[in-house]
Symmetry: C2
Subunit: 352 residues, 2 copies
DNA sequence: TTGTACGCGTTATCAC
DNA sequence: GTGATAACGCGTACAA
């Protein structure tokens, strides 16, 4: 491979002004500073181990050359990429966006970069992403949810990498876990309806096969209905991307076919907003005749009319805690806490 | 560095079951398949250059060992990381999320991974991200907006990397550009108001210093007002994170201090939703007494009441086109088109 | 405190 | 069609 050699020759022939292209390596800095590469490396990584005078010389050379260490080479030499990968179902949902934001800010503060993938709620896409990330030798992996492909599990078993699963709970996590009980959220939603004297509940979300966490919320709602001695909630599923348009149609169908429904729990606030609109279209007063409860506490929830009562999930906190757990493991300082339940909270506003 | 050696020895001593830890390298596959490392490398990258029988042998060994090529090593050897970095102001806004999604899906299809950063609308954070990404030797960079730190520009000048700026237009792009005219959007918003006979306009957004694109929309609105022979629009700025709560207060203050306002252009739909709510709070009928125009066409825009009239930006398309432009440059096949104006469109619904 | 020598896992070259 | 060899740029023992 004579790429480098050729470039060097080209440089040698050229006027070689101060602002050349990329090829600035450790050696170049070392030469300019009049020291060895090792000293430069140390000066950048452990400045305290180097004499003040040489340190200044190195820093000067670095600045003059605009040297930027090559992290690929560094990764190869150390076996650590300082990259963490995260897979979320979608970025289009502000709660996952908060989680990603929380993750990224903590990690970046510790010198790690975040590599992001969205699985579109598809387990095999998740597996493909995991494979790709593992190939990039990421130092750790964040996975949304606790249900994964057998292929994903096999991959993870082979390449022992720290893993944090987020946004759900399970008794058998792959490794670490930061989430909350989705079943519990469903149960609390039901109790909330029961306390209001609602007797005929419905649920709007993605189908359980497609998204386990939504299914668990439905399961919780069912349990609460049984406990309250009420009929099982009527489920309605929208699978094409949780778009408000599809959601609205689904709610319209639901209200038309089951006019006696007096409470509706939606798997996310976008759907709940659509439900509010559908109720308005049918002239059904909310919350008088119909209680609408959302999930996620999206930005807009407080500003719909009526303002949306919803289940608030600390999305950003999930990201931050996951990042901290990973860092603890990666830096090997504090013992990493394996399992965190961040909980949730029903924010009572006007719609329920 | 005897990490590898030590590991090998440990492996040699252990039972060495089929599902060992990571250390599976090209050599291991080569040994098992009875060929050289070069042949394995070729079998994976250019299968057509290798005999069918050896190909099968290699594939078998790869499968049996669960081999995953180390892209850091590959990056070092080839000089290409197959990573593209993108910097957006925030992920909390679904339009940028679409852009990121568009970028990621096209890039992944071509074997590139996306590394993401959010600048929080802060130029110096952007510079820090650019520095970090450059250190990672990303193959290309996507930057939101056309205004950048001098430090950012210096960095980019030194390390010649393909760059695409998105979400705005300029006559002097750093390199490639995929966006639309923010000034133009402001002008069209004004024309829309003028056509409705609105005479006293207002603008709600972030301050121009903080976010150039929002400022350009205001500038466009001003131009339109002048052209229509009307007074300059009343500006109101919310700088603390575009939160609906802050937005609502700002609108309340605006409406109270300038009761004659009959049209309001908001820099994003979250703000517009807050404005809708504020108008309801003051019992101001929309759109009869007040026309509210949003920006971004967020998911929820169609389902507020009244449904939000807004400026639709093809966020996803911006991402996709940017990705295509990059790929064209990186793969060197088609000539990359340097400048794309994707335009925008006012979606007339109920609020204006 | 600083330098020498070699290895990290992969690929390009060029000969066979 | 296949293999030996030498990089790619950096970090770590170990010696000085």
């Amino acid at each position: 491979m004579s790429r480098r050699t050729a470039a060097s020759q080209a440089n040698a022939g050229a006027p070689a002004g101060p602002s050349r292209s990329t090829p600035v390596r450790l050696v170049d800095v070392a030469r300019l500073a009049g020291v060895s590469t090792m000293t430069v490396s140390r000066a950048m990584r452990h400045p305290e181990q180097v004499a003040d005078s040489t340190l200044r010389a190195v820093q000067g050379a670095v600045a003059q050359l605009g040297y930027l260490p090559d992290s690929a080479a560094s990764a190869l030499a150390t076996g650590r990429s300082r990259i963490v990968a995260a897979i979320v179902p979608t970025l289009m949902n502000s709660v996952y966006a908060s989680t990603v934001h929380g993750l990224a800010s903590i990690l970046r503060g510790a010198g790690y970069e975040l590599m992001l993938g969205d699985s579109s709620y598809d387990p095999s896409t998740e597996a493909a992403l995991v494979r790709s990330f593992l190939g990039r030798r990421v130092d750790a992996l964040v996975l949304t949810g606790v249900e994964h492909d057998s292929q994903t599990r096999a991959l993870l078993a082979r390449h022992e990498v720290p893993v944090v699963e987020i946004w759900d709970l399970t008794t058998q996590p792959i490794d670490m876990l930061v989430g909350f009980s989705n079943v519990g959220a469903g149960v609390e939603a039901g109790r909330y309806f029961a306390a209001q004297g609602r007797r005929r509940w419905a649920f709007l979300g993605t189908s359980p096969q497609r998204e386990g966490r939504s299914g668990k919320r439905l399961r919780g709602l069912r349990e609460a209905a049984r406990a309250a001695g009420l009929a099982a909630p009527v489920p309605a599923f929208v699978d094409d991307g949780m778009s408000p348009a599809a959601g609205r149609d689904a709610v319209l169908r639901l209200l038309d076919s089951h006019p006696q429904i007096d409470a509706l729990f939606c798997a996310n606030d976008a759907l709940a907003t659509a439900a509010l609109r559908a109720a308005a279209d049918r002239a059904i007063p909310v919350p008088t005749a119909l209680s609408v409860l959302g999930f996620g506490d999206f930005d807009i929830a407080a500003h719909t009319s009526p303002a949306l009562t919803t289940v608030r999930i600390p999305g950003r906190e999930i990201g931050e805690r996951a990042a901290c757990a990973l860092l603890a493991r990666l830096e090997g300082t504090d013992p990493a806490l394996g399992r965190v339940d961040v909980g949730f909270e029903i924010v009572g506003r006007e719609s329920a």
